[in-house]
Amino acid sequence: MELVIALGMNGIVWGLIIALIALGLSIIFGLLDIINIAHGDFFMVGTVLAWFVLETTGNYWLAFFIVPVIGFAMGALIEYTVIQPIKNAAALSIVATFGLSIILQESVRGTFGAAPTRLVPPIETTVPLFGLEYEVYRLFAALVSIAAIVVFFGFLHRTKMGTWMRAVRFDPETATAMGIPARRVYIVTFAIGFAMAALGGVVAAPITTVDFQAGVDILPFCFMAVIIGGLGNLEGTVAAAVMLAFFEGIMASFFDPTIARIGSLCLMSIVLLIRPHGIFAGATR
């Protein structure tokens, strides 16, 4: 029973980190209709920048502030140079972001090398939790993720830019007719998506690894969360990410973890069969 609770709890913690990253993917899709194949690489850039900040300043905590800002700037630049020219062409967006993914990976490989590295967690202590020696940093990472998600929803619902983002997402033509600067909203949205993935990278780097392919494996899980949550449904994405990881954690305590992974994929298939627009389809844009 202890193992069930421990792995369930670990699933929630991991799910919250994934939710932070997947949320960026969801807003980019929800507003811009861009299927962003490079989103995992935005996460990877976050892990590499976190490592770089630690190497140059010796202070890991700085990365929590600096990296999202760099991510935001990079996101704005990419939206302006890569996404804008192919807007309104969903098929092209897949090709363009796939190319972007390769460029980001190879740039990091060329600059920092191909060998993976490790970031020592800024909090190194562990606590005995339901039979496991559990890292305190993981609990901290979950708290940071919750805080970032809350701040994001606060921004979306309490600020003028947030209101514009929702308006453009709901009806871009009318929003433009009402004087909302849709062009600027697109840039800010994409930049926020990048910044959130980069922050996810900072949070997750001490748990996983820093390497040029770190984003490749995280992307499918993010897509699963976005699809099960309902395409473009932000609250649904968060809930689905946490539920998926929790479900996989519980399954892993009873079965082989590989079976647990297969189980979560089966769950996604069932959801797509029963509710093709996702579990939280009612709230979809």
Binding site: N10, A115, P116
Partner: protein
């Protein structure tokens, strides 16, 4: 052709014309046409032989320059280039220049197999120094065999010189069969008898598990249920949580990012305080223990080539390190952060010299002579030298497997410290050949 025929026909049309029209012009026309035809025919027949006998010998290098194995691939490429340079400076192979054709496998079996065909069919490679990626090498052996080209594997899955091996597949390095035989006796005696194995869910990991399990159980040890981790897993806690409490030895086999993730997460769960950690060199290849914050401290690794010079302290090892531009302790490249994938990459260097020896011994001139090279490779003895800095070895005739010295080391203060050298003679005694490829037709 038609013109020549007409000319011939005209000339033989009637004696009258021949007698009358034999002018200087007609004589020259006939002579030139005949000469051209003869030259064309001669070149057509002998083109292949002529160009092969005096032109360069092309050896293909199937290498992981990009993708997940690129931190290893960089070194395989560097080793291959160094070998080619040395061979050409020494007069080439049998007086012919050695030319290397390189293709990037992208660390992907499908791409690797496609690139192998390209090396052989488009770039005309006569021999292949192959991949270190077990999936790629296993996908490549049937192709090399079909095209009758000798192929050197550098990966560890035993199948390459076992159940999926052929007369054309060779490996100078060790496989999972040899690594298990080299490491298990010492580890059983010094680390413990209750084992749990955790490995990536693909050929290499399963191969290690199977070979180790047999030996541990035969020696009276207990092997708990294996834990196979899907490739690309980020959070290993669900897998690490399943390791039984009674485990004395945790045997792990990972590579690259998954390896770092494993050591990072096991360290944070303090597993290394409860059990001995043991692994093979592939898990720590191209990684400097100093770069992963002490996560591998105290871990035992079975190496194929000791990382510090002092544990195989000879002139050839030293010269090889200098060729690779690495330091003598951490095997780190001068002027960069790269750490040499030393336990594997030497094969991409030595295999060129093994091929040179076999080509010269067999008198190979062209593709039809390839069976002679294969026969020369079977049982090839290699002396400790600059051509074979890893040490003296033999390419066993029966199963085409390299018999080499292995080294049991432990990470102490981020350095590899030798605990036991396992000489190849000891291994040969424990590893009877399970296949005899000499019975396969060439």
């Amino acid at each position: 052709m038609t013109k020549d025929a007409k000319t011939t026909k005209r000339q033989t049309a009637g004696p009258k014309t021949a007698e009358r029209g034999q002018t200087r012009r007609s004589f020259l026309q006939t002579a030139l046409a005949g000469g051209a035809a003869a030259t064309t025919a001669y070149l057509g027949i002998t083109h292949d032989a002529f160009s092969k006998e005096s032109g360069p010998i092309v050896i293909g290098h199937q290498c992981e320059l990009t993708g997940g194995f690129s931190s290893w691939g960089y070194w395989h490429d560097k080793c291959a280039k160094a070998a080619v340079k040395l061979i050409n400076e020494g007069g080439g192979i049998a007086g012919r220049k050695l030319e290397m054709a390189v293709e990037d496998t992208e660390s992907n079996p499908a791409a690797g197999a496609r690139k192998l065909r390209s090396l052989i069919q488009r770039r005309k490679a006569s021999f292949i120094v192959g991949s270190v990626h077990s999936g790629i090498m296993l996908a490549s052996i049937p192709i090399a065999t079909e095209l009758k080209i000798p192929y050197f594997s550098a990966g560890e899955a035993t199948e390459a010189t076992g159940s999926k091996g052929t007369r054309y597949s060779f490996r100078t390095g060790s496989d999972t069969y040899a690594l298990a035989a080299a490491g298990v006796p010492w580890a059983m005696e010094n680390l413990g008898k209750n084992w749990t194995m955790i490995f990536p869910d693909y050929a290499w990991g399963h191969s290690h598990h199977e070979e180790h399990r047999k030996l541990i159980e035969a020696a009276g040890g207990k092997v708990n249920d294996p834990i196979a981790v899907p490739l690309g897993t980020k959070d290993l806690v669900p897998y690490l949580a399943r390791i039984p409490e009674e485990t004395e030895v945790l045997f792990s086999v990972f590579f690259g990012a998954l390896s770092v993730a494993f050591y990072t997460q096991q360290k944070s769960m303090r597993l290394d305080e409860k059990m001995k950690m043991y692994s093979v060199s592939g898990t720590i290849e191209a990684i400097d223990p100093r770069d992963i914050g002490g996560a591998t401290e105290g871990v035992y690794f079975l190496e194929n080539f000791p990382r510090p010079l002092e544990f195989k302290n000879d002139e050839y090892h030293k010269q090889f390190n200098e060729l690779m531009e690495i330091d003598h302790v951490y095997a780190k490249e001068k002027g960069s952060n790269r750490v040499m994938a030393k336990s594997h990459a030497w094969q991409s260097y030595e295999n060129f010299f093994a091929l040179k020896a076999a080509i010269e011994a067999s008198g190979w001139q062209r593709k039809k002579d390839t069976p002679g090279v294969i026969e020369a490779l079977e049982g090839l003895e290699m002396e400790n030298s600059l051509a074979h800095p890893q040490g003296a070895k033999v390419l066993r005739a029966e199963d085409h497997s390299g018999m080499i010295d292995c080294y049991m080391s432990r990470v102490e203060d981020s350095k590899f410290v030798l605990k036991k050298r396992i000489p190849r003679a000891e291994l040969e005694a424990k590893l009877p050949p399970r296949y005899d490829f000499r019975t396969y037709k060439l």
